[in-house]
Symmetry: C2
């Protein structure tokens, strides 16, 4: 399904690899880090039952509006973009109330009819200021009282049990799904946070979890040395190579890149247990587009980047470049009668070769086909990789203490 290869020299010993397997096994069985459990213990059946009873089609729901930011939105966006070209995606429109940019909010209300919309309010803490502000604005705009049936029937909350949002929902009879307390926001896409909207959009969420499970089983059976070696390389070279570029040859990875940037940046950018500020900077780019943008910097820049090339071997649509010879442009005819899939993948290979020629560390991930199973695998792959690197960098991979001060300052500004 997915093949991963390192094209740089591995410097690990068997002990290093075993140490990493041990560390993650300990973490996974310790109970503090819950995302490891999600392939088996998840809300797939609850969500299916809820949705079957709710019956979106019968109620005429045409829009899903997700109110959420950061870990509450990026995972769903990532998976929807990976899979939207497949057969399972239905016609329901997905929109996000995410930023508090007033123009974005007003734009969201264009042609938005309340009766046709199902609102999913997501906040792990239950008190995210962007999300509660959006909720208030929606309630006012559509004139929805908290006591009304409309509120109960068109809203669902996803949050931690006993959070303010949970208690609020309980008092007014709003359906809630819970994020396990030991699953952090950026690791939460396999909770209801991602699974509920993705199921409503038509995706096979059981297959998604199956894909994650395949990798989990293989990893804990100690069959994923490549992943460990890659983590070891990134962590031990963090000072020399502080930037990790994910270079995916398909537009479908656009939001996967954003999800990766949050996961990697927020998990690994930390003061470690020795009191040292560490961190690896994630960058996500798309081929072939960014051959015309970021590639020059990779090739001739300061040598401070590793590159992971992601290639999709089969696309849903296999269209050909027509056998047309345009006058004066005959030099491009070598690609005629080849498919666009061949072109984009040959561009991936050619670019990779030109990067390797500069002695830049490259690894590859080849995906047979983008579907629920491979998407689930890819998400879990990067979650495991993040945990491995975090372990080696000796940081707390799962907190985000650096962003709290800004929230305190914000509140003071309005209280002054």
């Amino acid at each position: 399904m997915i093949e991963s290869k390192l094209l740089f020299e591995d410097q690990t010993h068997e002990d290093d690899i075993n140490g990493l397997y041990d560390a993650l096994l300990q973490e996974a069985s310790g109970g503090n880090v819950g995302y490891y459990d999600l392939p088996e213990v998840n809300d797939v059946e609850n969500i299916k039952a809820f949705c079957a009873e709710y019956d979106f089609e019968k109620r005429g729901i045409k829009n899903i509006a997700v109110l959420g930011i950061g870990g509450s939105s990026l995972g769903t966006k990532a998976i929807d973009a990976l899979l939207e070209h497949g057969d399972n995606r239905n016609d329901i429109n997905l929109l996000y109330f995410e930023n508090v940019d007033p123009n974005e909010i007003v734009q969201n209300f264009k042609n938005l009819i309340f009766e046709e919309t199902f609102f999913i309010v997501i906040s792990k803490s239950g008190g995210t200021i962007e999300t509660t502000s959006h909720l208030k604005f929606i309630l006012l705009t559509f004139n929805i009282s908290l006591e009304s049936d409309a509120f109960k029937e068109h809203f669902v909350f996803i949050t931690d049990e006993n959070s303010p949002l949970d208690k609020f929902g309980e008092d007014f009879g709003v359906k809630r799904f819970y994020i396990p307390l030991n699953v952090g926001g950026r690791f939460s896409v396999f909770t209801a946070v991602g699974l509920l909207p993705l199921h409503i959009l038509g995706y096979d969420i059981a297959k998604l979890m199956e894909g994650a499970g395949v990798l989990k089983e293989s990893f804990f059976a100690r069959n994923e040395d490549t992943l460990c070696k890659k983590a070891y390389f990134y962590a031990t070279k963090a000072e020399e190579i502080p930037i990790n570029v994910l270079f995916s040859y398909s537009t479908a990875f656009k939001y996967f890149n954003d999800w990766y940037v949050q996961l990697w940046g927020e998990s690994l950018g930390k003061v470690n247990i020795d009191g040292t500020k560490v961190g690896l900077t994630p960058i996500g780019i798309i081929g072939s587009v960014d051959q015309h943008s970021f590639l020059q910097l990779i090739i001739e820049g300061a040598g401070d980047k590793s590159v992971t090339m992601i290639k999709v071997k089969k696309f849903e649509n296999d269209i050909l470049i027509p056998d047309i010879s345009l006058p004066y442009l005959e030099k491009n005819d070598f690609i005629n009668n080849h498919s666009f899939t061949e072109l984009i993948n040959a561009q991936c290979d050619a670019t990779m070769q030109s990067i390797i020629d500069q002695n830049i560390s490259v690894d590859t991930i080849e995906i047979e086909k983008l579907d629920e199973k491979s998407a689930g695998y890819m998400i879990f792959y990067y979650e495991l990789l993040t945990s491995l690197v975090g372990n080696l960098l000796r940081v707390n991979t799962y907190d985000q203490p650096g962003v709290e001060l800004g929230k305190v300052i914000l509140k003071k500004k309005f209280e002054a």
Copy 2:
């Protein structure tokens, strides 16, 4: 209109600043770097005349399809996203044939009616393989012969004079606009590359150029010391602070970020005249969204980043956060009755303060209002800044030799 401030300690002497003004003046008057001339010498009038005669409305044109990649698409995307919430934008749909991802191409054809579409084919070299492949596919799909009136009437080419695309267009009577030979692709948004689609979309392109002209005049009158000081800081600290983050507090900057990443990365990631690989890595993020993603890495990470905060003081839509108190969520009521504009800008200030507290170098750009004039100013601001830094890093800011090898390898793969 726009105010720029440095919040880090400036280390320049008067001589450094004067040297930079002199260097850019020399470059601007030397004739090899043409973008400096565009505020005065441009195609605004030609484009207006062409469009008035063509009459998009009368012909029922509902879509503009831009075939172009990199410098041929990013500038237009950037400016359209900055301004689309304003009054001037009409209802014409803008779509891009950019990546050669087959799913993206098929998606573009959904509901695309040839008679309602105007195709703008953009390639500076006139032979970009992605763009010619898209062109061939469009010709075949809509069954358009090169000799037909449909081809002449629905296509325009933007390219270098005497390029293969120019000669092809000339032979078949297709209207061409030229990119001046001394204007590089990533500096070309103020040529027809950007101005033609932006004018068709309803924007006031003369005002765009006026905004660029305001900064140009001020810079060459030696009134822009801040810009020079900022460039000096970035260039002299390139090893210690190799990553420059642009943190804009409005979703409207989404594509401006991509444009900036290309401009900065491709211009400055180079082997310099001493044979040393240099480069500064650009990263574009959006507030408040990325407070929930990348901010942790800035605050607690390795200290290898500078941050530019961009704030928009007035948004078109000034909506209020309703005075609703949600049970259990009263702690967020401090923001009630304030506008979303106040919230997003207070978040910008609070985040900035929390970054400065970590001794990270910050500068700010405050924009009174997003309109054509300020957009033109911002584009020219980053072009000048790039030229200044390139001068100090002693690279050729305007070439991109690192991406040629990949193209050669690609061709060989198909010839083998």
